[in-house]
């Protein structure tokens, strides 16, 4: 075990330039998926938080449950949809970065929506009365509340990114782990583990962890800067 760690540390110093390409692919796919997930999930979550409609309780339970959506199941469903024999086959997206973005978006959108729903609902408890008294429509209130809790929503964004960049089940199935094309950090780690090259797999794991830490640190810095300036 210790030997494996030492070997991994040594490999980090001499990492293949291909690793940079793989890390870029991981970032590109997960950032795109989180962005789309937030673009859809935040408005949906905010509306579910403050709108009153029949079956709302069911929607909330389903949203919360979908946070635990198994990545490999999402991968399989998206694979069947994007396959040439599937309904969206004519797009030719399977085994491309686009397919991986689609799968991860499906994975993270409910997560963003569920977290947004909770955060906005809490804010609505404090401010809702006032906003309703001002005679704002549901859409206007949603907009105001999202703006009000924008710094808290960073956690939803980071959760989406974290889920996307760490998952392997969905990208492996719909991306195919094609060298130089759809290989991401997680599928590369999985491949090296299968080849029995545990030190290299571990070294790649460290790189992935470092990327996630840097992204989170950057988000924290940005948030505190923005909070000071615009808070």
């Amino acid at each position: 075990m210790l030997e494996t760690f030492a070997e991994a540390a040594r490999l980090l110093l001499v990492l293949d330039p291909a690793v940079a390409g793989i890390a870029t692919m991981s970032l590109r796919v997960s950032v795109a998926a989180s962005a789309i997930g937030c673009a859809i999930g935040i408005p949906v979550g905010a509306l579910v938080a403050i709108a009153r409609f029949p079956g709302r309780a069911v929607v909330v339970v389903v949203l919360n449950a979908l946070m635990g959506l198994p990545a490999v199941v999402v991968g399989l469903v998206v694979y069947l949809a994007l396959s040439r024999s599937g309904p969206l086959g004519h797009l030719g997206l399977l085994f491309t970065p686009g397919a991986m973005i689609v799968a991860q978006t499906v994975l993270v959108t409910p997560l963003v929506a569920a977290l947004t729903r909770q955060i906005v609902e809490d804010a609505d408890g404090e401010l809702g009365e006032q906003l309703r008294a001002m005679g704002l429509s549901t859409l206007q209130r949603a907009r105001t509340l999202v703006f009000d809790v924008r710094f808290s929503l960073a956690v939803a964004v980071l959760a989406a990114f974290g889920r996307a960049i760490a998952e392997v089940g969905a990208v492996l199935v719909v991306g195919g782990n094609i060298a130089g094309h759809t290989r991401t950090m997680t599928t590369a780690i999985s491949l090296e583990t299968q080849k029995g090259d545990l030190p290299l797999a571990l070294a790649l794991g460290f790189v992935l962890l470092a990327i996630v830490i840097v992204v989170n640190a950057a988000a924290a810095a940005l948030r505190s800067h923005a909070a000071r300036r615009y808070g």
Partner: protein, 272 residues
Amino acid sequence: MDVLRGSFLTLAAAALLALPAAAQTSITVASTTSTEQSGLFGHLLPAFKVATGIEVKVVALGTGQALDVARRGDADVVFVHDQAAEEKFVADGYGVKRTPVMYNDFVIVGPADDPAKAAGKDTLEALRKIAAAKAPFVSRGDKSGTHAAELRYWQQAGLDLAAIRSDWYREIGQGMGPALNASSAANAYVLTDRATWLAFRNRGQLRILVEGDVRLFNQYGVILVDPKRHPHVKTEAGQRFIDWLVSPAGQKTIADYKIGGEQLFFPNGPKG
């Protein structure tokens, strides 16, 4: 921030990220874990790209799954090792023609102290001894070419696997690498192709116990997916890949791939 406008802009930006990097001729090849995990493709594909300018994207799966991906039209070419399944694939109208490319061989690896005394040249005898000793045996269990071969050997050894299997027979449902990892962890016997074994790093106490039996011959074939069935198949580029594999240049490139001085795959494509 206007939530809706923000959402729209984010979607547009994300769509840009999703665009393909550059348009160039590329084909998708569904192949096996052994050709990928042994490093053969890493050696072969750059040479093919230099020769033709065509990029090959390899999706590495078990043979059964690779054929299934091709059957759905999600690959242009399949490059696998299960002759019976390949011939059925062509007969069912999914592939144009099966062309033999190369072979390697299977070996049985197991713990160095060989508790079942299975070492030797006779595959079937080795399996009988492993079953009699109820020594741990790892099976791919994933409908791959190697799994199909393993099941064939049990049958030829006159053993009814369904009747004799118990805790000692461990079906893991994964690729060759994970099967070797599992064997290494449990000091179990396992059937593997020699190429993946040679490229495998986490060997632990395992070593080759059975090799050199003619039954262990493992033939690879390549098939173009039939454009009559799937019109979007890149017929021309796919055929060029197949032609190059069996050309003198392609066959030599296959023969040149070595790990630790040992040749992994032996070209035997049709001459001429």
